[in-house]
Symmetry: C2
Subunit: 213 residues, 2 copies
């Protein structure tokens, strides 16, 4: 099947969550699961699960359900967890260091190979197994190691500039934590903006509502 007629981003954003739940089921030793059972665990409709999965192919078996391990590895493959994309972090402040550590220990799909900061004072400081490098060395490093993903943990003001520079160096994907809406008008460049400030304001909005009542 595998209809590649553009999967909607609503579907894609649900895939990692499927992947997590299926991983949990595997750890519990569950072999098979029906869309109904999974829908109860995940608080979705069974219909939605079947629709979502069928965007990528018929992973289930009528009358039986889905094989947990098979579905888990299929979704993993779709998400690229086995790809180990070479990744660099730009900005070694609190957040940059935390995210770098996080990528090293907790994620799949990425291989962290470098962390950079423009502050010369940080140069040589360790973050896990890596030593912080100066952003002056980006050109040299990227030509040599060809990273694909850049994680931006830098202030708003420098973001667009460094992103453009990185595009020039062959970087293709940006995980952007800066307080800036990065959008790159190149083809074949993708950006995932994470706005922690926005997320927190969403929470204070809701808090406002329940507290004022």
């Amino acid at each position: 099947m595998a209809k590649n007629g553009q999967i909607s981003s609503s579907v894609i954003k649900r895939l990692p969550r499927y992947y997590r739940f299926l991983g949990e089921l595997m750890r519990q030793g569950t072999d098979r699961i029906s869309s109904r059972e999974l829908s109860e665990m995940m608080k979705l409709t069974a219909s939605q699960i079947r629709q979502d999965l069928n965007c990528f192919g018929g992973f289930g078996q009528q009358g039986y359900g889905y094989r947990v391990s098979e579905l888990h590895s299929e979704i993993g493959r779709i998400l690229g967890v086995d790809r180990d994309f070479k990744t660099i972090v730009i900005g070694a402040g609190n957040l940059g260091r935390a995210i770098a550590t996080h990528i090293n220990f907790e994620t799949r799909g990425c291989d962290l190979i470098g962390i950079f900061d423009k502050d010369p004072a940080l140069k040589g400081t360790s973050v896990g197994k890596l030593k912080i490098m100066s952003t002056d060395n980006l050109e040299q490093f990227c030509r040599r190691h060809k990273p694909v993903i850049a994680v931006l943990c830098i202030p708003k003001s420098g973001t667009q500039e460094i992103a453009d520079r990185l595009v020039g160096l062959g970087l293709r994907s940006f995980w952007n934590f800066s307080h800036y809406d990065l959008s790159i008008d190149h083809e074949d460049i993708i950006v995932e903006n994470v706005h922690l400030g926005d997320s927190l304001l969403t929470l204070t909005y809701g808090t406002n509502a329940i507290i004022s009542e």
Copy 2:
């Protein structure tokens, strides 16, 4: 106007972004803006902007547009940026410390009053102006200071338990960074899950697509 007939979460999630852009316009000294101009800046439709804003009241003026500073402060008020909700961070690992620092310096709407970790070795270590406390002291601390928002930066396994404990202590809002889908079946409790791992997998999915081409 102020129709409180439940604003959709699609609208609410756009508010912080409006707030950011309006703040930027203020800094640039712009007095008025039309929905069309703003739509070009933000890459939205003018129609959507007018619809969104009208959920909360008529902030504009026909034939003129919107007064930037007025709209900025109205949205800020709606989001609760002036509320200074007392906030605690649970978990003082890399991420917990980074988020704690972030809340202190970069956000409004929250006042960070405590950071906790269950590891006794961390007790007394400083994070900004705060000293890390033991989670054993949560009860005492919360009865005394009555925090409203809890930021969870702890492993998956302990999350539900500590969240339930915090609900018992009067906490009402949870900003959850743990690798766990927190959902609390109480009324008047709100949860904002931030799944960094999911966000990164969304990026590797896209990276997969552009790299394989």
